[in-house]
Symmetry: C3
Subunit: 100 residues, 3 copies
């Protein structure tokens, strides 16, 4: 059984960004993503935006560390200052098919 | 790009605790939380409560280690023996705005 | 306050597998699981299956490392080649009741 060390990125943000972020993730090398609807509260530095209840999505991407870095940098550059967004990463071990 | 080492707390519990827990989390220093509806099964020691399907919530809080400790201790003291609740923590690296 | 080192397994797969997987998890020693509905996209090696939007579930199991290994091996053997499925594990610290 092969377990591969990878990164998981979790993004919680506004629902209206869903399709844009999914396109970005794929362009930047993410091979897949998982989205759940979420609600919550948070506030961010710049705009101090209060998140509306039920208007959030939670996106998970499991990917190579290099891809995780690229996605993180891209989101920071293009969304982080102008949208309610939190992004965090962690370490996971991923079950891979034998043929990889 | 600044990534900050923080803790993530995940709480899975009964839906009826949502507003009480959200208040507690904010009072104890959590700056935000993400909630998703969940179903599941589990049983806990004291009351051996079986979780009803679809009656659960999953709450995530990303915070400083000290805040994580305070939230964990508070929930243990006030809820853990009397409600169906699981709580676990992990390590995450969080993208922060430049201005912090 | 006792925090116990355990593993978390996250499985994202087709909704139709929910009841079969829940039975498997319990038989293999998992004492509980949390399920959320999810959507997403991914493709897998063997069948290169594209995941339908909204037809996924995300299952989390917090358990002892040995149980995590058994669940992972079982899912690899029985589902991984024939269904759209991603599985990854991570480290968590779990709040336990005093009586354990």
């Amino acid at each position: 059984m092969t377990l591969s060390k990878q990164k998981i990125i979790t993004i919680v943000t506004e629902t209206r960004l869903e399709s844009a972020l999914c396109e970005d993730i794929e362009k930047l090398g993410g091979h897949g993503y998982t989205i759940t609807d979420a609600r919550g509260k948070g506030h961010r530095g710049v705009r101090d935006a209060v998140w509306a209840a039920n208007a959030n999505i939670r996106i998970e991407v499991v990917c190579e560390p290099e891809v995780a870095k690229n996605i993180t940098e891209h989101l920071k550059k293009h969304y982080f200052d102008n949208y309610a967004m939190i992004l965090f990463t962690g370490d996971v071990q991923v079950l891979r098919p034998d043929k990889f």
